[in-house]
């Protein structure tokens, strides 16, 4: 018997370049579960993709509705962008009692959403990362920065919390300027930011979107040469494209101390999925959590997922890394307890969102070097 898992991501639209790897990672987890042969008696998990478009709430709602009512999925891995996630949650998931685990909707506002216990996310709310980034800057003794963020709920929320934390600690923000993704030209933003000045430029955007454009433009004009970056900027492609110029720049990214992330990378690379892209780890974890929660509940049902996600995600129990899903299933089968660590050191707190440990990295010799974990 098949159990459908909806994978709702923006396959077309502004983040269409991120989503294939995200979906690939999630499907990787499901495949691992299926291949282990230890999942619920004769149940196979079947991923069903749907397009959230990232921006069109109505289309996303319709797609989700189709997943739930037509394809009969029991849980949803998604959605990606916070806006459509909110729409799918309140219009489809809650009314139908279908749980959602979003890998990437990071808007702080979602913590307050009316979710009836059905909404989880494997990425931390941006409220926390802002503080982390401010702390890093303080450590480095940087007291004056210019900030640019991608103009969406993620970027804006992130910038708000960063600004609050940084000025609290006595830092000065010379200018906060948003940038729109997908609009290749950022001369105006760079002009304003350069004129405002600051020791470093804090970039809270996406590595394959405006964020990259901004950095490139800043480097080309010589406006800034050191950048402090948020999670959206973490990607190997960025280093590959901009090379040595990024030397000495640094940033934060939700990450786990330990082998979880590396395990995932190896796994993903073997399967031919790009691991080093935004939110791939979170996607893997989201899908894994859905499956594990079903196992724990003993049935492939929505209720089982909703009831058990927190349980399998958090201590106590045996820590589980990517690649060890089979083992986890066995433990659960035998009535044992697990603590899913996954690729991002999953720890779901509060209303069911990642607590968020962050890696503070610096770019040295053309690679990300860990400085510390926060």
């Amino acid at each position: 018997e098949d159990a459908g898992i909806g994978i709702i991501l923006g396959f077309t639209g502004p983040i269409e370049s991120l989503t294939p790897s995200m979906a690939g990672s999630a499907e990787l987890a499901l495949k691992e579960i299926n291949d282990s042969g230890n999942f619920l008696e004769g149940v196979t998990l079947v991923p069903v993709r749907a397009d959230s478009t990232c921006v069109d709430s109505a289309a996303a709602t319709a797609a989700a509705e189709r997943l739930v009512t037509t394809d009969g999925v029991v849980a949803i891995m998604g959605a990606d962008c916070s806006g459509v996630t909110g729409a799918v949650l309140s219009n489809v998931a809650v009314p139908n009692g279908v749980p959602m685990i979003s890998p990437s909707a990071t808007s702080p506002g979602l913590s307050e959403a009316e979710d009836n216990g059905l909404f989880f996310r494997t990425s931390p709310s941006d409220a926390r990362q802002g503080e982390v980034l401010a702390e890093i800057l303080n450590e480095r003794g940087i007291s004056s920065v210019a900030v640019t963020y991608t103009n969406n709920d993620y970027g804006k929320g992130f910038a708000d919390s960063f600004e609050a934390a940084f000025t609290e600690a006595g830092g000065e923000i010379t200018l906060t300027a948003s940038h729109e993704d997908g609009k290749g030209d950022y001369s105006a933003e760079i002009g304003a930011l350069a004129s405002a000045g600051g020791e470093v430029l804090v970039v809270l955007g996406y590595s394959d979107q405006g964020g990259k454009g901004i950095i490139q433009s800043a480097l080309d004009t010589g406006a800034f040469d050191t950048f402090a970056m948020g999670d959206g900027m973490y990607s190997d492609a960025l280093i590959a494209d901009l090379g040595n110029d990024l030397e000495g720049s640094f940033g934060s990214v939700p990450w786990a101390e330990g082998e979880g992330a590396e395990a995932f990378s190896t796994l993903a690379n073997e399967a031919g999925v790009t691991a080093e892209s935004s939110y791939t780890r979170e996607s893997y974890d989201a899908a894994a959590l859905i499956a594990l929660a079903m196992m724990k509940g003993g049935e492939a049902s929505s209720a089982a997922v909703a009831a058990n996600v927190l349980d399998v995600a958090n201590a106590p129990g045996e820590p589980i890394l990517p690649g060890e899903l089979g083992k986890a299933l066995e433990i659960l089968e035998s009535g044992g307890d697990i603590d899913y660590v996954g690729a991002t050191n999953v720890e779901l707190v509060g209303p069911g969102e990642a607590a968020g440990t962050y890696r503070y990295y610096e770019i040295e010799g053309g690679a990300y070097e860990t400085v510390s974990f926060k």
């Binding site: 077309t12 639209g13 502004p14 269409e16 370049s17 294939p20 103009n151 010379t174 200018l175 300027a177 948003s178 940038h179 729109e180 997908g182 609009k183 290749g184 030209d185 001369s187 105006a188 933003e189 760079i190 002009g191 304003a192 930011l193 350069a194 004129s195 405002a196 000045g197 394959d208 990259k212 454009g213 490139q216 433009s217 080309d220 004009t221 010589g222 406006a223 492609a237 494209d241």
Partner: protein, 336 residues
């Protein structure tokens, strides 16, 4: 010295980027304007035509690169341009044959062609993504800078740097050359004039012995060339991503229209107006003014008229104001 520094800052952050961006918009706008003036509709598929032409160019560039062929300090993509243009021309001619020709024969209202072009846009959109995918593609090679900020500082001993990218230089030069060539072609050559005649009065063109199908074919080929050149230069300067090209459509249309749609000079002027208004109104003048005024009078504030959040809005406000003063654009465009 300080005055010089101030000027350099201005050039580096306002003049050069805005000029380059303006030329990029202008090149796109030329294509839009050409279709509008001759085939009489606003072609929404133009952004995706640019993306398609660029994609073919990129594939050809990769081919050349893997064969070890380069173009010295210039990007190899320039060598691959003809292939891209050829590909785009094939696509456009095929589209015309399958789609637009029918509506031309029916003499439908322009707005229907606009909507049809939206359909075509969806198809190109998918086509490009099928072939090269939705991701960023970097295909620039050769010398990146004519002059980098660091070199400039070392060379002049000024505090401020001035950077000029190869692609920026190429873009500006190309835009001007293409504009002049197009203007000459339309106003001086027989084919060009026959194209204008066709656009003015189709029936009468027929009565003068002008072959409409030929006019249409030439137009599409020119459009393919313009779109591919514009798209490739843009991709070289930034990077190639199908989605960005779609997003470019809006400022491109704005440029074409504010300059007076149907007019090549207008397209260029429009491109610059849009680009400059985006940069100037959201620029923080603090640093420039700081250099310009006597010691001790440097401004505290940023001297920024509007946040960059509104850069797009600003350019549209300018556009509306220009149109209110000159209702058919700066250079007397047409209206249907």
């Amino acid at each position: 010295m300080d005055l010089l520094n101030g000027l350099v800052v201005l050039a580096n952050f306002v003049l050069i980027p805005a000029t380059a961006y303006g030329s990029q918009l202008a090149l796109g706008a030329l294509g839009v304007t050409l279709i509008y003036s001759i085939l009489r509709f606003s072609n929404f598929a133009h952004g995706d035509t640019m993306a398609f032409g660029t994609m073919v160019t990129i594939l050809a560039t990769w081919g050349l690169q893997s064969a070890g062929i380069g173009f010295g300090p210039l990007p190899t993509a320039l060598l691959a341009l003809p292939v891209g243009i050829f590909g785009a021309a094939l696509l456009l001619l095929a589209t015309d044959r399958l789609v637009y020709r029918f509506y031309r024969a029916q003499r439908v209202k322009p707005v229907i062609l606009v909507i049809v072009s939206t359909g075509v846009m969806f198809i190109y959109n998918g086509l490009t993504r099928f072939i090269i995918g939705p991701d960023d593609q970097n295909f620039a090679d050769g010398e990146r800078f004519v002059m980098s900020a660091r070199d400039f500082k070392a060379l002049t001993g000024l505090d401020e740097g001035l950077a000029l990218k190869t692609t920026q230089a190429i873009t500006v030069v190309t835009a001007i050359v293409v504009m002049v060539a197009l203007f000459w072609f339309l106003n001086r050559t027989r084919t060009g004039k026959s194209m204008r005649a066709y656009s003015d009065n189709e029936d009468l063109a027929l009565l003068s012995g002008i072959n409409p199908e030929r006019v249409v074919r030439v137009t599409w080929i020119l459009v393919a060339a313009l779109a591919t050149i514009a798209g490739t230069l843009y991709g070289l300067d930034k990077s190639f991503k199908a989605f960005t090209y779609f997003q470019l459509l809006l400022p491109i249309f704005a440029s074409a229209i504010v300059g007076g749609i149907g007019s090549p000079i207008g397209a260029i002027a429009g491109g610059f107006i849009i680009a400059y208004s985006e940069v100037i109104f959201t620029y923080a003048w603090k640093r420039v003014v700081g250099y310009m005024v006597p010691e001790g009078m440097e401004p505290d504030g940023l001297l920024q008229l509007l946040g960059t959040d509104y850069k797009f809005a600003v350019s549209f406000v300018i556009l509306v104001i220009v149109l209110l003063i000159r209702p058919t654009g700066l250079f007397q465009g047409k209206s249907i």
